[in-house]
Symmetry: C4
Subunit: 237 residues, 4 copies
Amino acid sequence: MYKKLKEAVCQANIELQRQRLIIYSWGNVSGIDREKGIVAIKPSGVKYDELTPKQIVVLDLDGKVLEGDMNPSSDTPTHLELYRKFKSIGGVTHTHSTYATIWAQACMGIPCFGTTAADYFYGEIPVTDVMDEKAIKKDYELNTGKAIVKRFKGMDPMQMPAVLVANHGPFTWGKDPDSAVESAVVLEQVAMMALGTITINPNPFPISDILLDKHYLRKHGKNAYYGQKKVKGKKNG
Amino acid sequence: MYKKLKEAVCQANIELQRQRLIIYSWGNVSGIDREKGIVAIKPSGVKYDELTPKQIVVLDLDGKVLEGDMNPSSDTPTHLELYRKFKSIGGVTHTHSTYATIWAQACMGIPCFGTTAADYFYGEIPVTDVMDEKAIKKDYELNTGKAIVKRFKGMDPMQMPAVLVANHGPFTWGKDPDSAVESAVVLEQVAMMALGTITINPNPFPISDILLDKHYLRKHGKNAYYGQKKVKGKKNG
Amino acid sequence: MYKKLKEAVCQANIELQRQRLIIYSWGNVSGIDREKGIVAIKPSGVKYDELTPKQIVVLDLDGKVLEGDMNPSSDTPTHLELYRKFKSIGGVTHTHSTYATIWAQACMGIPCFGTTAADYFYGEIPVTDVMDEKAIKKDYELNTGKAIVKRFKGMDPMQMPAVLVANHGPFTWGKDPDSAVESAVVLEQVAMMALGTITINPNPFPISDILLDKHYLRKHGKNAYYGQKKVKGKKNG
Amino acid sequence: MYKKLKEAVCQANIELQRQRLIIYSWGNVSGIDREKGIVAIKPSGVKYDELTPKQIVVLDLDGKVLEGDMNPSSDTPTHLELYRKFKSIGGVTHTHSTYATIWAQACMGIPCFGTTAADYFYGEIPVTDVMDEKAIKKDYELNTGKAIVKRFKGMDPMQMPAVLVANHGPFTWGKDPDSAVESAVVLEQVAMMALGTITINPNPFPISDILLDKHYLRKHGKNAYYGQKKVKGKKNG
């Protein structure tokens, strides 16, 4: 019944590993069918090499399992909270990718030091607050989602498709599971280059708002002119 | 007679190389059969590409060779000391993996900066004392084991399956040779991310005990809920 | 009609990815036929895995498309400006390669710390000025080219086949598309080693002019003696 | 006539690339037949992918070409000086491997921070003096060899099979071309770990002489007990 979404989510999980963002089973991708109101997600602790569409778990937005024999990812309550509050997103990833996790462990947001970041992230990539005792002890994964949502107050999640959870690691998203994986790949590259930048220049400064606007809006929004979108209706290659 | 253990130890050695923790022949994995009281270990100086189960050396816990034509790893006395004193462990590795060795060379333990570490290591990964002249000059490899055991006084080795030997490199362990290799892989990743963390934030702080408990105990101990353990008796994938 | 140049440009683009300087579609290579006055360049946003010679776009030096159904790279006006002003160059690349981009983000030129750099780049690899609001808002890509040309006033672009655009990333060039790719590969290696050098030695100094001359001129110019050029007319292997 | 040596030298060059120490044609391995007094070396500027034993150039110790149609490596005078003065060595390499070159560019020797280094290098890996104008302008490559020899005054080159040429990069050696390549591989790893060590601990200290002796002499010299050397005459695997 949910075959197409399960296949898309399985493929996106495998792509996440192919991009070298995963060690063992640390990470997960989910996707949502907004019409049906259902979410498909990787089962917990399963290795990527062995993952099949059949193993993908399907739940409703309240976390009730609709299909699948295995436990869903232990991070499922975080994903569900993001889908409930960020209405425009269609896919979510969680990884412990090396450089994004380094910034998360340092509890620091990643300043926008260059156009590579500006092409995807409209400003500094935010880090959540450190979670307090109460939020950790009960409903920890749900509260992780709430900490992210709180941090995004007043922001458009589609203009900033990544967050660093303090002491933990990144979550990313996009219009579908594939886009969420792309956000994770770019985040890792941006995080690596930002670390190098502050190593060379201990007093770094982010790029100007004008350059940020130029690059972000050149690829996103109604006046975008990057890629093949406006040529004879061809698909962007 | 010891065929099964020799095969498991051979496979674990090969996996150690496959995970890119090994240069040339620097490293070794051993395993123990607690019932028979025998240990199987890689022969000394043999390249991983050429390793076969037949070459694995079998010894008793006093170091007497029971089977095998080759010299056991020169680190054998360290492994044996760990098996004698850490009754719960079933496999041991030694590597010179890059980032774990960097911390060992700096003679510094690796603080628990994030949940990646907390999922496997219950606190700061310890470093031994620098060994004194006497300990180096005679029975060096045995004394390396004793330095590790001394450092673990009051600690449960199964909650901290790794140690850094000062000026040298890491030893790791687990319930069997495969788990010991997994500890070595995760240690290397944790060591790399910890180096990045203190590069960004020169005054880093470890995660709270509450978050450490949450993550470590979510995967270990009787209330663990990560993975597939509690679902219909299925094997964790 | 432009088959040969399109094939050379396609191959050079693919080589850029094979050298691991590219993530997704971030980057492009172009080539020029000086006799015909035409430039061939990668289409915008197309993935390297899917690139074919047929997709390469051909333009004149004013940017008028002569052949090709797709949008040319959004960086085309930068390439054209370089071809118009640097008469001796035959190929241009743009990448966001990790270490070159790190220096560009730090808005710092790369000092010549060793002979590896001196073999290819005759002095410090320059960084452009940060572009002002006006230059960004209108004709941004053309103005990027102008910022590069301005920075090269009084310099011979063939002796310095690379530049860092501040807050952005590198452009490189050479006598043809293949040489431009080689410049990009070497730039990345030089940028990585320069970062390491200042990490070890916070007060680094560039090499002497005498050593710079020795190495640069040993490989370039009429008294070069590196390689096979002067032996029995054989091709340098 | 020199077939065997040429094949050994060709294989060692290819291994150098397989170990990822080479970009393009930057590097070379040579070997010597002490009885015949002849040296075989890679031709200049030839790519490793295309290298065949037939292309290897054979010279006497004065640099007179005895066999081969191509120019020998431009670094040949350095190799020859090392063979003339270091009577015990049988193979030499030169690379621009990333981390060894970083230390050479910083004009700093690599302190012995751990047993990984101590297993191969008996103390701090030395850096030459910066060469003066006269030494660079005439007979540069020969003078590079002389700067190395000068730096090794009072040292046994077989106990320290590597040197960093200031502002340039490493040369390594060993009893034959394969051993020289092994020295180059280990040097690169040691250089990478030393950089990490001083990043974590800005006031690092080298290991004690006692630990250095223990590790170096455990693998080298008449009381060595590492590997399979003393077991039933078997070859060390």
